[in-house]
């Protein structure tokens, strides 16, 4: 796993660097998507996520979900065009998973891509780390993760 300014960038994942989205290809051809470490840092403690309806087809760039933190609301954009096939059920009860485990249990949606050509625009491995790293350094983002609420010093509000 690569780190840039404390931002975690797992090399095996695919990234839409501009939109701050990660994607993991699943064996069935679908993509699991989530917010990257810089994106969750920028948003801050997330208090709510609303995903658009399963079955909805969305073009690249369109919002697949809206994310609300204690200081900001914004879209979660599609890195490729496709159909929403699932929303992470865990986020309803615990949206903070995005802050604590953004590349794991904090995934947001699964989509079935409709235009395979678009997948080539996502970066992975060293190419992703280089491009994303440059963006992180330029923006001077320092990533932070929320502590588990069960752990000492966990944030409460």
């Amino acid at each position: 796993v690569a780190f840039v300014n404390a931002c975690e960038l797992p090399e095996e994942l695919y990234y839409d660097v501009e939109r701050d989205v990660w994607a993991r290809p699943d064996p069935d051809g679908c993509l699991t998507l989530g917010m990257t470490d810089p994106a969750q840092t920028r948003a801050g403690r997330i208090v709510h996520v609303r995903v658009r309806a399963v079955g909805k087809h969305l073009p690249r760039g369109r919002s697949a979900a809206t994310v609300e933190s204690s200081k900001w609301v914004g879209p979660f954009p599609m890195p490729v065009s496709g159909e929403i096939v699932a929303a992470n059920p865990l986020l309803e009860k615990d949206p903070g998973l995005i802050n604590r485990d953004t590349y794991g249990s904090g995934w947001i949606v699964r989509v079935r891509p409709s235009d395979p050509a678009e997948l080539a625009d996502l970066l992975t491995g060293q190419a992703a780390v280089q491009r994303y790293g440059a963006k992180i350094r330029e923006a001077n983002v320092l990533c932070v993760r929320c502590a588990d609420p069960g752990a000492a010093g966990g944030e409460r509000s």
């Binding site: 810089p38 920028r42 801050g44 809206t66 609300e68 609301v73 914004g74």
Partner: protein, 359 residues
């Protein structure tokens, strides 16, 4: 840097809310960064993007009073808006704002803060997004990414109808409403309250605000008009915002009491103890009990001691052990008889108000 100022003056309530949304949705890289200034002709209530209207707002009361309720594409809680406030909406292309939201607030709240100071109010930015004066809020703000735009919204509060704000909210009890009202009067202030007769008119305040935005952003401001594309986008937002489907769409954001100012929140809970139901209406300030009312159907002797217990708990940190300890000492000291209501039960009720849904 150039910033376009669009001064819409007084417009119908819906337009006052739709205008900045439309400008944001229409924004592209070539659109000038813009600040919209507007005040609604008549009062309305506005809920946060993910709130559930029925849980937050007394819809029936608003209907009777002819106060419309709208939903914004910005987060946060339900607010009451009227012509006593001058709203400023900063709409910048997201490529031209700092990457961190904290910094976005720092950059854009400087203008309103300096405007208050120029009026003679020692205001300051309390992170993340409050503007305060001597611990009281004089302007809440919010931020959202809408389309390609980063939007920061807030207001200069000339006057505020505290009573109506407390009245339009949906609350679990009148005790709770009273605490919200008193908390608002205590922790939310206005230009009029701070300056009395020396308060500037809204027009004067607006002039100062524009000047301070220009100064703090290091920008040249140009007064401009809405483009045809923006007018169309605003009309489209107005159509959407007026539909029941948009206004009453499912929320999902858990209700966690009423936030009065940064660090100050009023909430209520009920805890079923073996001896009966304990209701705690709590104002929490910076993680401690600021003001507490206990009620319920449990037996507590001597009855007058319940008020004393509330007073004893003021200032107590919201920590189950610390609360229970204070209550235990009080029970022993005053020889309290409360069968089935242990100190831990009362501590639990107070803590639930902090954590849980308020109604």
């Amino acid at each position: 840097v150039k910033v376009r100022i669009v001064d819409l003056g007084r417009v119908p309530a819906l337009r006052s809310q739709a205008a900045f949304h439309g400008v944001a949705h229409a924004m592209g890289r070539d659109t000038p960064d813009t600040i919209v200034l507007v005040s609604p002709e008549s009062p309305y209530v506005c809920v946060g993007f993910h709130q559930e209207v029925d849980k937050e707002v007394d819809v029936e009361f608003c209907r009777q009073q002819g106060i419309p309720v709208y939903r914004r594409e910005v987060g946060g809680g339900a607010v009451y808006l009227d012509s006593g406030q001058l709203f400023w909406h900063v709409i910048f292309h997201q490529s031209r704002v700092p990457p961190l939201v904290e910094d976005v607030y720092r950059v854009f709240l400087a203008g309103p803060v300096e405007a208050y100071r120029a009026m003679g109010i020692p205001a300051y930015h309390r992170p993340v997004n409050d503007i305060q004066v001597e611990g009281r809020k004089i302007g809440g703000t919010g931020a959202a990414t809408i389309g390609e735009a980063m939007v920061v919204v807030g207001s200069l509060i000339f006057d505020f109808d505290y009573q109506l704000m407390a009245r339009v909210l949906k609350v679990p009890s009148e005790k709770y409403r009273d605490k919200v009202y008193r908390s608002l009067t205590e922790y939310l202030t206005t230009i009029r309250r701070e300056l009395g007769e020396r308060a500037p008119t809204q027009e004067e305040g607006k002039r100062i605000l524009i000047e301070k935005f220009a100064e703090t952003l290091g920008a040249v401001v140009e007064f401009g008009e809405l483009t045809e594309r923006e007018r169309q986008a605003i009309a489209e937002v107005e159509r959407r915002f007026a539909t029941e489907e948009w206004i009453f769409q499912g929320g999902g954001l858990p209700k966690r009491g009423v936030k009065i100012a940064e660090g100050i929140r009023v909430a209520e809970s009920a805890h079923k103890a073996p001896g009966g139901l304990i209701r705690a209406t709590v104002r929490v300030k910076d993680g401690a009990v600021d003001d507490l009312t206990l009620s319920g159907d449990f037996f507590f002797y001597p009855p007058a001691a319940l008020r004393d217990l509330e007073a004893v708990l003021a200032g107590a940190p919201l920590d189950e052990g610390a609360l229970a300890e204070r209550i235990r000492a009080f029970y022993a000291d005053r020889a309290i008889q409360a069968p089935g209501v242990l100190p831990e039960d009362i501590a639990r009720a107070v803590l639930l108000a902090q954590d849980g849904p308020a109604s």
